[in-house]
């Protein structure tokens, strides 16, 4: 950060300016109180948004892993990069070259917080989530930025680190008593592909990708719920397979073949047992399904809620289509209403079921999009990749709702204060899950591999999101 303004604020944040710093901070506070519901649910009537107003909290003095209230994470991953200006950081005064047709942002249930005009339902839920408007990493490549946001590290180190989901699978999965046959880390519905989610933790911590479409009449889950296969035929096939095991009988005990037999038993427990019913959305009422929206994203949100109810620790909704270099605004008119409906329904439903306190909902893409609109053909109103400044949203799991962290400049082009780097955000998620972000990961090279980067890694950090914790 070379911006003198930022350096000053950074100094404030660290409490170096003492009382003067606090005074300054008061001036840039956002009043963030809900007139209707805030008083009952939030600890203080007026809580400053910026960390500057808090006494320099020293995380080291807090007992380690004291937070761990959260049990699950739903990661809403907007592959391609959603535009911060059109979603959670509107800039209606920046002019036509920046906000295009979206000039009337939506007031929310929290005074002083406005969000994009196509998100009216999320506006009503604003007390449940907090918006980080100062996400930054400066990387503009899909893969490298996706890696950065989900591992907390820039690409190009000697090790390929695991994503948050794989780390959660390691610490909350089978080794931590998770008993399910379906793996603890689920992706709805397609894997991220080019980004290897499990990194050096290996295939054991890869996500299970369901495939199929949860909004289809019959949601086929790759491997678990097949098409046109009766239970009787499954059982007949299994018997035939067991009778044609000539090699197993000849070889006898062999660790490889024993492993195959074990995986086969687990597979059949899943195919023939009840656990796969978690994917059966027909168990939900039509009314409930409609609230979430009868589209792939909406039904994925509903499915994520069902998975959380059954104790799955990490669910990624891999929600693509945000890479809108061309015809951005038409795409937003298509996509944002579905996102608004699905995500708002998810927050409300989790809250109604008492699950929001133990479930972190994390909304983010790999970066934002260029605030300045590209009007020329062939782009015709497009936005490109933008890693310097973008937004993320956090809800539930112990994170406070109803706040804004950080601020971008008048055009959403730079972080104005409180930069939040990917490692700050995911380190905070780990803390809320009771995973020590300063712990280490087992890795094949034997070199120490910290869960989140430390001071020796020379990766820029802005500090964990203590203001929300």
């Amino acid at each position: 950060m070379h911006d003198p303004e930022l350096s000053r604020r950074e100094a404030i944040r660290r409490g170096l300016l003492g009382a003067t710093g606090l005074l300054l901070a008061e001036n840039i506070m956002v009043h963030a109180q809900s007139p209707t519901t805030g008083l009952a649910t939030r600890p203080a009537t007026t809580v400053p948004v910026l960390p500057t107003s808090r006494p320099a909290a020293a995380p080291a003095t807090r007992p380690a892993l004291a937070k761990g209230k959260a049990r699950s994470v739903i990661q809403i991953w907007l592959w391609g990069g959603p535009c911060h200006i059109d979603t959670f950081d509107p800039k209606p005064d920046a002019g036509n070259d920046y906000c295009g047709p979206f000039t009337s942002p939506q007031n929310t249930s929290i005074d002083g917080i406005r969000i994009g005009q196509l998100l009216p339902l999320l506006a009503q839920q604003a007390d449940k989530y907090s918006i980080i408007r100062s996400m930054t990493h400066g990387n503009n490549g899909h893969e490298t930025a996706a890696y950065y946001v989900q591992t907390g590290r820039p690409a190009g180190e000697r090790l390929v680190y695991p994503s948050v989901g794989a780390v959660v699978s390691l610490f909350k999965g089978y080794d931590a008593g998770f008993k399910g046959l379906i793996p603890p880390y689920i992706v709805l519905t397609q894997p991220q592909g080019r980004f290897s989610e499990s990194g050096f933790l290996g295939p054991r911590h890869k996500p299970f990708a369901t495939g199929g479409d949860p909004s289809a009449a019959k949601f086929t889950v790759e491997g678990i719920i097949g098409q046109g296969m009766t239970r009787q035929r499954q059982e007949d096939r299994r018997r035939l397979l067991s009778e044609l095991n000539t090699l197993e009988r000849a070889v006898g005990d062999d660790p490889q073949l024993a492993n195959l037999a074990e995986t086969e038993k687990r597979a059949y427990d899943l195919i023939l047992g009840d656990e796969g019913k978690v994917f059966d959305l027909t168990e939900e009422s039509d009314g409930m399904r409609n609230v979430y929206g009868r589209n792939t994203f909406g039904q994925s949100c509903l499915l994520a809620r069902r998975l959380v109810e059954r104790g799955f620790p990490y669910i990624t909704i891999n929600y693509g289509g945000w890479d809108t270099h061309k015809g951005h605004f038409n795409a937003m008119r298509q996509k944002l209403p579905a996102m608004d409906r699905g995500m708002a329904a998810l927050l409300q439903d989790l809250s109604d079921r008492g699950l929001l306190d133990s479930t972190i909902v994390w909304w983010s893409g790999e970066f934002g999009r260029t605030p300045r609109i590209n009007w020329q053909p062939p782009w015709d109103g497009g936005r490109d990749h933008f890693g310097r400044c973008f937004s993320a949203v956090l809800a539930g799991g112990g994170f406070r709702g109803g706040y804004v962290v950080g601020e971008s400049d008048a055009r959403g082009e730079h972080v104005r204060n409180r930069p939040v780097y990917p490692a700050d955000l995911i380190g905070s998620i780990y803390e809320m899950l009771g995973i020590d972000p300063n712990g280490t990961l087992p890795n094949p090279n034997g070199a120490p591999a910290r869960i989140t980067p430390g001071p020796d890694d020379k990766i820029p950090l802005g500090g964990r999101l203590t203001e929300l914790m």
Binding site: E143, Y147, A155, G156, E157, R158, V160, L181, Q190, P191, G193, R194, F195, S196, G202, P203, R204, K206, F208, A209, G211, T220, E222, G223, I224, G226, Q227, M229, T230, Q232, R233, Q234, D236, R237, R239, L240, L241, E243, L244, N245, T246, L247, A250, V251, G252, D254, Q256, L257, N259, L260, T263, E264, R266, A267, Y268, L270, I271, P444, N445, G446
Partner: protein
């Protein structure tokens, strides 16, 4: 293990080829047959001496059915067709195994399959975390393929990788120095040490000393997209010290490319790492396990299980001037390679001393190619970079894909190498429940079984159910069915709720889900 006498089995074989009806099993086990492979000299002596000393009983010789399948998969990463299996099984040429090895060494799939292996170790990938970019990946892969196809001696290959200079498009081996996650001298030294010396970790002193040889490499881009020149950059200062990993300091002069000095030291028969690394690796590729295990984990406290064997392998490579095809030929013709995978000893050291051929799951690429070959279906691969996407022709086989950035959810699920670090263990061929689910019950596999044209043709084989089942066995398991298997299938077809063709699809389904299909054995 009960075995038929040679005379009896010969008689059975004779009878089975005489009768017109599908042949039944010539011996009680479809996996072994009386030994007819003579010990092939030094390799077998080294293995057998040690087995005798340890009191470990080696397995019997693998059957012809096992052999034909094994050598196809090990040498060309391709399942034999029913016709190839039938002609091999029916041949009475006593030299037929040796002849088959010779034929396979000259097939184009040999170059496809071994380029895939080399590309794993050399990290051939367009994007993330290795960023060769698509054009260079194609150039590099094509060059590797040509080297394998021309059987360029390994020492010359290593020299080209270490010392080339030029454009990454026009002088493809320079990509060796680009296919790394970091290009600082210690990282380059690490990559050289792993790839060409088979050692994963080095002491700080060793690594710093070795880094001296790689600190005058320059990289510069050109006006062409993602073209990069790798060159000897004499404007960079001479290193303060360049020390060979054995502790000998090197004398570098200012006009000398330090990489050449390093290559001259490394690439000699007397170098303690160079021959040992490739001999041990190449052995492990064929036999499933290195004499030093893991094959790229050479270090003083990880000794070879059989030092005499490793010495023999090194000597064979040197005598044959690093001709890898000839080395493969010697190993494949050995009795040791042709042991069955049915252990005859429960001794816990039996695997480390090569008392049997270990079962190994097929690699992801080989498995999907085999499934496509059996059913007559294809996979669709696309390269997402650069946009617009490139679509790979449907007839292209998976083992021939150049780029690890071109993938599919099947390949990811089945542990294809991500080519991030070049470690052999990056390729994961251990079964997981998700893989099992996919093979047992996914629409992907189900669709291949019900819609694949080739499989449909097999199911249409004339001569009744028995003929169809025999053809299925030859196609999928590369052998004749046994009487017990035929009876089990009869029983299934008569009792299951479905009839006719569907019941036969169940048989095909069961065979592709059997351990015998999924594992090399």
């Amino acid at each position: 293990m009960p075995r038929a006498s040679p005379a009896l089995s010969w008689l059975l074989l004779f009878c089975s080829t005489l009768v017109a009806a599908p042949a039944t099993l010539p011996s009680p086990s479809p996996f072994e047959q009386p030994l007819h492979v003579a010990p092939a000299g030094a390799i077998d002596r080294a293995v057998q001496d040690q087995l005798k000393q340890l009191g470990i009983q080696p397995s019997g010789c693998c059957s012809d059915g096992v052999f034909v399948r094994r050598v196809f998969l090990d040498l060309i990463g391709t399942l034999p067709t029913a016709r190839e299996v039938r002609s091999f099984l029916e041949s009475k040429d006593p030299q037929k195994r040796r002849l088959l090895i010779d034929q396979l060494l000259e097939r184009p799939e040999f170059a496809d399959y071994w380029s895939m292996k080399w590309a794993d170790l050399l990290r051939v990938k367009a994007e993330f975390p290795i960023n060769l970019w698509p054009n260079a990946v194609q150039a590099y892969h094509k060059w590797i393929w040509q080297c394998v196809s021309d059987n360029l001696p390994y020492d010359q290959l290593a020299r080209k990788l270490l010392t080339s200079s030029g454009s990454n498009f026009r002088v493809p081996p320079v990509n060796f120095y680009r296919a790394v996650q970091a290009k600082d001298p210690p990282s380059l030294a690490q990559a050289v040490g792993l790839t060409l010396m088979g050692q994963r970790t080095w002491s700080k002193e060793q690594l710093e000393g070795m880094a001296g040889f790689f600190c005058r490499i320059g990289y510069k881009s050109t006006l062409e997209w993602k073209e990069e020149i790798v060159f000897f950059d004499f404007t960079k200062p001479l290193p303060t010290a360049a020390i060979f990993p054995d502790g000998t300091p090197a004398k570098l002069t200012d006009d000398q490319d330090p990489r050449v000095v390093f290559a001259d030291w490394l690439i000699t028969p007397t170098n303690p790492w160079f021959t040992r690394n490739i001999a041990n690796r190449a052995w492990s590729w064929l036999v499933g396990r290195g004499v030093i295990h893991e094959p790229d984990d050479i270090r003083p406290d990880n000794p070879p299980s059989n030092p005499q064997l490793l010495a023999v392998l090194e000597r064979l490579l040197i005598e044959n001037k690093y001709d890898l095809k000839q080395f493969f030929r010697l190993v494949l013709n050995s009795q040791t390679y042709q042991l069955s995978s049915v252990p005859h000893s429960k001794h816990k050291l039996a695997p480390a001393h090569f008392a049997f051929y270990p079962v190994r799951r097929m690699e992801a690429e080989v498995l999907i190619d085999a499934l496509c070959q059996i059913t007559g279906t294809s996979e669709r691969y696309t390269s997402p970079i650069p946009e617009p996407f490139t679509f790979i022709p449907e007839e292209q086989r998976t083992i021939a894909l150049a780029d690890a950035s071109i993938s599919s959810s099947f390949l990811e699920l089945f542990g294809r190498s991500p080519r991030d670090t070049g470690l052999e263990l990056e390729r994961n061929s251990r079964f997981s429940p998700s893989q099992r689910l996919h093979l047992l019950n996914s629409t992907h596999i189900q669709r291949k079984l019900t819609q694949g044209k080739k499989l449909q043709a097999v199911l249409d084989t004339k001569g009744g159910r028995r003929a169809v089942v025999t053809e299925l066995y030859l196609t999928i398991l590369s052998r004749w069915p046994t009487d017990n298997e035929l009876a089990a299938i009869e029983n299934h077809a008569e009792t299951t709720e479905i009839r006719g063709r569907e019941a036969l699809i169940d048989v095909a389904w069961a065979l592709i889900n059997s351990a015998e299909f999924l594992y090399r054995h």
